[in-house]
Symmetry: C2
Subunit: 642 residues, 2 copies
């Protein structure tokens, strides 16, 4: 039970790591290696400055095809009073790139000369005349690339710590080098541990946890300029883990010991570090990421990474990236920041540095940020994150409307072409996202339910909202809700798709359910959605039409919060059926008994309807191939309501 866990502030933890590395003489570039000057040098970091060995050009070179002359010999030449220069003595033919003959200091373009033969007559042998006639004077060094114009021998071409780009390789070649002194790539061992872990590709049983942290960490290491070795999974066994750590420490510069996500698992890590070396830090006041361990073994740093994927990835960014930067000699990665307005209140523990994943984009004049799922196990929140808000220790959160700094994962240009869609989520939005991404737009959709979407539109926090709000009085979708919640805002309702709702039932329909009224049959256990969910409104509407009272439905008060929760209840046998969409049935391999069609509309404020930002959206939803794909999805159509 985290016997040693004792959170220390993030800055103290960073300082402890730095100081341990300094003591071990490891707070520096690890080593220099000379690599060939070829395209594989791209992205490597210069370990030493590049000083020019030679000048470029290494001689005064003609910049044109023409005749080398002495500028003073051309003085006085005009259109009406041409001068004639003798080839050899006063002029010599040069191609572009040719050395300027000694004593000459300018070039006249061949187009600006008249070639003359031995008799002084114009000749067609324009490159081998006996003399040339010129009709303008030239200034010294005209059309000449002087020695060292590009690079002067002995000058600094590139400083140490520079990350090599394509043009840099050209400049290094031009300055006379054939090899490049770069920092050696740090070697990082990644050791996943945990008895519950299974390798990617395994058949998953309940309780199995896919081990992909080592994959994410290895890719981070590669991206930051290191080389990762992924070790196989080690079960929670002290001796086995210790053995692996010792093995890894032989030929790696850093060991990342990744504990399972079980709260007790990092005890093995801490124990192993304490036994084999020195445990410096056990627990850091950072969220997500608390159970970070830092230690030194055999003069090598070892970091115990938390098991939850978001925690592991952010711990990599916070602790590992700066270390690799120092070891390779480059500047640590510094994300660009942008000031944005928060759409929702967020709270942070006062004692922690809190890293909050954010969706960011412009809606009208405002740059907005919405906090994403805070769960440390939700890797998709990092995939979706446009940036991080960092709430420092001592700050307990921020209010909706507050201005906060976001450290951006994406370029500002990408944010400008982001379409914010808030409201009820639907599979077709995923498909639209895919089409939009081919058209230079990014669809960021946030699932807060239909009503939440209308409220977001009212607040000016989205470009559009997906909505399927049935009015139980009228049986008409959305209209009355828009009138109520978006009064005074001019909006368009775009019918996107008809979506089937039906009963999610076990494969082969063992209880022989045929219609909604069957849920009142004796012994049929129903599972419901929470109050306020669109699907629950739909159920109540149809029960009412059938004259069925909620009390007649066994399990009416048995609530789940998502379509998938309903599906899971049916899949596990806790319920015989529930109302939901076909996709949820498909996701958990259930059967689906279609009952009703509902209208799924996009609600779009007039001001965005005509905007260039949204234009590709309307092109997509009219496309034949898009409509065909949607119609082929289970439970979707564009036809009339049943």
């Amino acid at each position: 039970m985290s016997l040693y866990l004792h959170d220390i502030p993030l800055d103290k933890a960073k300082a402890a790591l730095k100081s341990a590395l300094e003591d071990a003489d490891l707070w520096r570039v690890l080593a220099t290696e000379n690599i060939p000057l070829d395209e594989n040098a791209l992205g490597r970091v210069l370990a030493e400055p590049i000083w020019a060995k030679n000048s470029s050009p290494h001689y005064h070179a003609s910049a044109m095809d023409g005749f080398a002359v002495r500028a003073k010999d051309t003085a006085g030449a005009t259109l009406t009073a041409p001068l004639t220069l003798q080839i050899g003595e006063e002029a010599q033919y040069v191609d572009t790139g040719d050395p300027l003959p000694d004593g000459f200091n300018a070039v006249i373009m061949i187009e600006e000369t008249e070639a003359l033969d031995v008799d002084g007559e114009i000749t067609s042998a324009i490159r081998e005349p006996k003399s040339i006639r010129i009709r303008a004077a030239v200034a010294p060094w005209k059309h000449v690339r002087p020695l060292g114009e590009d690079i002067v021998a002995t000058q600094l071409v590139l400083p140490a710590g520079h990350i090599l780009r394509p043009v840099d390789l050209g400049a290094i070649a031009a300055s006379g080098h054939i090899e490049i002194p770069v920092s050696r790539k740090p070697r990082v061992a990644i050791l996943p541990t945990g008895t519950e872990l299974v390798e990617i590709g395994s058949e998953l049983k309940r309780g199995d946890i896919l081990e992909y942290n080592s994959l994410v960490l290895a890719a981070q290491i590669k991206k930051w300029g290191g080389e990762a070795t992924r070790f196989p999974i080690t079960i929670d066994n002290f001796d086995l883990i210790a053995e692996r750590v010792v093995e890894a420490s032989q030929n790696h510069d850093l060991i990342l010991l990744n504990a399972g996500s079980s709260a007790g698992a990092e005890d093995f890590s801490a124990g192993v570090v304490e036994k084999l070396g020195k445990l410096l830090v056990h627990g850091v006041a950072v969220r997500p990421g608390h159970p970070v361990i830092i230690g030194m073994i055999n003069n090598k740093p070892i970091i115990g990474m938390p098991g939850y994927p978001v925690s592991a990835a952010l711990t990599g960014e916070i602790f590992v990236e700066p270390m690799i930067a120092k070891w390779t000699g480059r500047t640590p990665i510094e994300l660009a920041t942008v000031k944005v307005e928060l759409t929702r209140k967020t709270t942070s523990p006062a004692g922690d540095d809190d890293y909050i994943r954010m969706a960011v984009g412009r809606v009208g004049e405002r740059m907005l940020a919405a906090p994403l799922n805070r769960g440390a196990g939700v890797i998709s929140s990092l995939v979706r994150a446009d940036g991080l808000a960092i709430m420092p220790r001592g700050i307990q959160g921020a209010e909706a409307g507050d201005s906060v700094d976001i450290h951006l994962y994406r370029s500002p240009a990408e944010l400008e072409r982001t379409i914010f869609c808030i409201g009820s989520h639907d599979m077709t939005l995923d498909l639209i996202a895919q089409y939009l991404s081919q058209r230079g737009r990014r669809l960021v959709s946030s699932n807060v339910g239909s009503l939440g979407g209308l409220v977001a539109l009212k607040r000016g926090e989205a470009h559009l909202a997906g909505s399927h709000l049935l009015d139980p009085e009228t049986g008409i979708y959305n209209d009355s809700y828009i009138a109520k919640y978006l009064a005074g805002t001019s909006v368009r309702q775009v019918m996107l798709v008809k979506r089937e709702q039906g009963l999610l039932i076990p494969r082969a329909n063992p209880k022989k359910l045929r219609e909604l009224a069957d849920v009142t049959r004796s012994g049929i256990h129903f599972v419901n959605r929470q109050r306020g969910a669109g699907t629950r409104v739909l159920l109540d509407y149809h029960l009412n039409l059938l004259g069925i009272a909620p009390e007649q439905v066994l399990g009416y008060n048995n609530e789940e919060f998502t379509h998938l929760g309903v599906a899971a209840a049916v899949a596990s046998g806790r319920a015989d059926c529930g109302l939901g969409i076909a996709a949820a049935a498909q996701a958990l391999d259930l059967d689906f008994l279609p009952l009703f069609q509902e209208r799924y509309e996009l609600i779009i404020p007039e001001i965005y309807f005509e905007s260039p930002l949204l234009a590709p959206l309307f092109e997509i939803i009219e496309r034949e191939d898009f409509r065909k794909t949607v119609a082929n999805m289970p439970g979707y159509s564009f036809g009339e309501e049943k």
Copy 2:
């Protein structure tokens, strides 16, 4: 002589290429390949969208170590009225990550329970009690990670065209995939041609041109997501070039035929393209880059790249990058833009799209851009460039003070830590740049001479200026010039270094020169610097002290514009000596006869003197190791003037 050259506008050339690719059904992702899900997938582009195969978590999972319960069984429990739940029936122990037993819907953290033994007494077997006592109710789904919390089976995980990052690999794994469908890397053949070309590492003779365009192009291709094959140099021979092109077209998607920089050389390229296939474009109204050739051979695109390195690299950015983007399915690279104020007037040809390399940085409140060397052969201008100003066709330039858009090669954060140094250049500035780069600063130095530097300070266009302006009246450096040119601006003069000026002479000093007066000896040819150069002022001052008239110096009017020009004149035997700095002698392997020491000072406006931006500069110039390195450079010292 560019017989076919007929410039067309850039947009027309791009359209011609696109249309030819469309006709050949090549304006699309070339092919999809499935690669293993490992860290080597980093940076690859998804050729197909990733739809989730399974949900994550794939079961309702406990998020804590504790006891799974039914929320309704806990209703009513308070601090003073605890409830007891029987293990098995009402509560079951779960570790973090364990599946929630069927029928349970919440978890109580172990810390919030009291473990009881068979007699109802508190026991230390906290994980295996007979019952637990709780003192608070829990809400449904508390401390539970519901099925699909992260990823729901069938949802879109990532769209096609997405460039894979470390966290994406985790999400792909979590969604049940073991392979990734990515676009095949386009294969690009790079064929350098030109009789004057020599391979990197060759001993350079006058007239040789180092072939490094293929290196830069190959690195560009690699960076953009392709695979390059660098062919050996082909001499200017039509049949040999044609043979190579045919060979390359067999197993590559694109051929880059790089002509030498000679103006006639691209005729071979155009002729080869015309003979083997279809010549679509010969000449594009873009600067630099005019002689671009576009054609199709064997249903493969071929681009004739200009020979000058800047033209070749920019032609890559303009024509090749968007093609590779299309072929791999990603969005073309879009550089961030920033509005800046131009420090100098620039002119552009009205008929061309003009790409101007710019140094960009903040000085005080203003974001400034200074045009860099415009020469197409000056690769170092691309290395130094912070961005590009693109002057479209029809625009003839911009005035100093105009606001222009810069397409940035660097992040805005880098620009904010840039120190602008304008004025006389000195080797020690290179060394300072190297030290600064280790301290999070970037020194951008621009060589406009000492006086130009003072004028730039006056205009507020630099943070500091290097200056060695001798007053011929007083023999004192800088003071009188500062008084005159920076009247009203409070500046500090920081003595940086003493620099020796002396005679650059051939090795072994064949003419036995010993002192400045020797330049008047019969038969000694001198080479001078241009009027206004600091070195010329120094010469005149000392000639005057010695009572020597310019007429007594043979070659006094023989002017060169740089230290290196003087060195080159001596090295080639055109002159016996010239006045210059030791580094110039060293660069061309000459001897150096030290004569005078001059003060090289940094002139720094008071407002920047105390700024955090410049703080590291003063730390550096006081450092022992810095001063030692400078003192070891030929001709430098910190001592008193001679």
